[in-house]
């Protein structure tokens, strides 16, 4: 039986299902597309069966695979997805509370993914750089610009 950082495949799926799905939604802003990528991420986990040192390693691997899977999905389906259908299936979050998910979804993807990993999962800059295969300074830069942009969106909409 295949083991993933001491977890069976079913345990790994149940443990990280929401993480993977949320990353896909964050990146794609669309639940239908996120479901496809979600399936592909766990299919890769099962068939590739990489060695993981611990559960954090497994989680980081799943997030990186999910981000890359979403990028590939966008590249393959860029011309096939009408803008209207994207808007119809877009995820909508409550804008009335303190949760800033709705504002995050309005930022550009390169800021969005850095902000989400930093504030959503409390990853350090170095860890985000490793997951996204970016330079740490690049991550820092994106964090700063993303933060400003997020405040503008959140504050502007709230003020407006």
């Amino acid at each position: 039986m295949r083991q993933f950082a001491g977890l069976s495949f079913e345990q790994a799926v149940r443990e990280y299902s929401q993480t993977v799905f949320s990353v896909c939604v964050m990146r794609l802003q669309n639940t239908a597309d996120a479901e496809d990528c979600y399936q592909n991420v766990f299919a890769k986990l099962y068939y590739k069966s990489p060695e993981f040192s611990d559960s954090e390693h497994l989680k980081a691997w799943l997030i990186r695979v999910a981000v890359n899977e979403c990028k590939n999905y966008i590249r393959k389906n860029r011309r096939a997805l009408p803008i209207d259908s994207i808007r119809e299936q877009a995820v909508e979050f409550d804008t009335s509370g303190i949760d800033m998910s709705w504002a995050l979804m309005k930022t550009p993807p390169k800021y969005r993914e850095v902000l989400y990993l930093y504030y959503g999962y409390n990853y350090k800059v170095s860890e985000i750089a490793a997951i996204l295969k970016l330079n740490e300074n690049t991550v820092k830069t994106r964090l700063n610009r993303g933060r400003k942009l997020l405040k503008e969106i959140y504050g502007g909409d709230n003020n407006g």
């Binding site: 495949f9 799905f21 949320s22 299919a43 949760d99 902000l115 989400y116 959503g120």
Partner: protein, 313 residues
């Protein structure tokens, strides 16, 4: 660190069906991608390339499959006679020299000039031949309506004029057994057979020229024999006609005609001699005034070539 909360996104619910589908991944057979050579694009491309190659090669090879412009007349046979007029050899349809004593079917008895029955079955007088590409060739037949020169263009010896010229309509039935133009002094002249040819057992035997059909410039419905350039105009050439069964139809006096380019021919017009041929198979023997056989051949007269000329050599 500022407090940015993304709990709504982080806690987004995974649809149960999607989760279940992920859990069932181990039960699913992995998708194996087809080998590159089984992909539709590769198959279609390969098929198109093969088709193009075949078509291209076919077109290329067809360039070299033209029909030869000169067709060998395999129906005619040529004989070699000795000083007494006796046939020593003749050439069959394959260009092979056959001794007279071999007794092959289809040979002509020099005495009575009757054809041995069964010559058609033997193929010795067959009129078709398989070419390299399998097509069947027939002796070339020319329609004099389009190719015959005018009477003014032809040089006709005076002694032969009026004997078989169709334009004048003064043809007379010749006496085959008593040629009135025979010249004794010409008896020793060679008959049309050049000498020396490789492949003949006896090197002293005259060369055998494979019979050919040449472009015809003769009168309508005529039988012609190509003569050597030095053939005496004063000599008379006779033409004997036989049906396919060997039955004697009649004799004709062939007119010797010198053509441009040094060609010399003997022309016999059956209708001018009162012989009206109907479509069918015929055998013909050309001989000189001494009875020496110059050529014997066969031809097919069909409805569509009733007005055509046959030239033998």
């Amino acid at each position: 660190m500022d407090d940015y909360r993304f709990d709504a996104l982080k806690n987004i619910e995974v649809p149960p069906a999607v989760l279940q589908s992920a859990l069932n991944i181990p039960d699913q057979k992995p998708k194996k991608s087809k080998p590159f050579y089984l992909k539709p694009g590769i198959i279609a491309g390969t098929a198109a390339a093969v088709l193009m190659l075949v078509v291209g090669m076919t077109l290329f090879l067809n360039i070299f499959k033209n029909t030869p412009s000169v067709v060998k007349n395999i129906t005619s046979t040529q004989t070699v006679t000795d000083e007494n007029g006796k046939i020593k050899y003749y050439v069959d349809e394959n260009g092979e020299t056959v001794p007279q004593s071999s007794g092959r079917a289809g040979e002509i008895n020099e005495k009575d000039h009757t054809f041995v029955s069964g010559n058609s079955a033997s193929g010795s007088h067959g009129r078709t031949a398989e070419t390299a590409d399998g097509s069947t060739l027939q002796p070339r037949i020319y329609n004099s309506e389009t190719s015959a020169p005018s009477a003014q263009d032809q040089t006709v010896p005076a002694e032969t004029q009026g004997t078989s010229q169709k334009a004048t309509g003064t043809a007379t039935q010749p006496d085959i057994t008593e040629p009135n133009t025979a010249d004794v002094s010409d008896d020793t002249e060679p008959c049309a057979i050049p000498t020396e040819s490789p492949g003949i057992p006896d090197e002293t035997e005259p060369e055998i020229i494979p019979p050919t059909v040449l472009p015809s410039e003769f009168y309508t419905g005529s039988l012609g024999l190509l003569l050597p350039a030095d053939f005496s105009d004063s000599k008379t050439v006779f033409c004997r006609l036989y049906d396919s069964g060997g039955g004697y139809i009649g004799g004709l006096t062939a007119k010797t005609v010198s053509m441009s380019g040094g060609m010399k021919t003997a022309v016999a017009v059956p209708i001018d001699n009162g012989i009206e041929l109907t479509p069918g198979d015929y055998n013909v023997i050309f001989e000189d005034s001494n009875g020496n056989v110059l050529c014997k051949a066969s031809f097919i007269l069909a409805y569509w070539n009733m007005s055509s000329s046959f030239l033998f050599s």
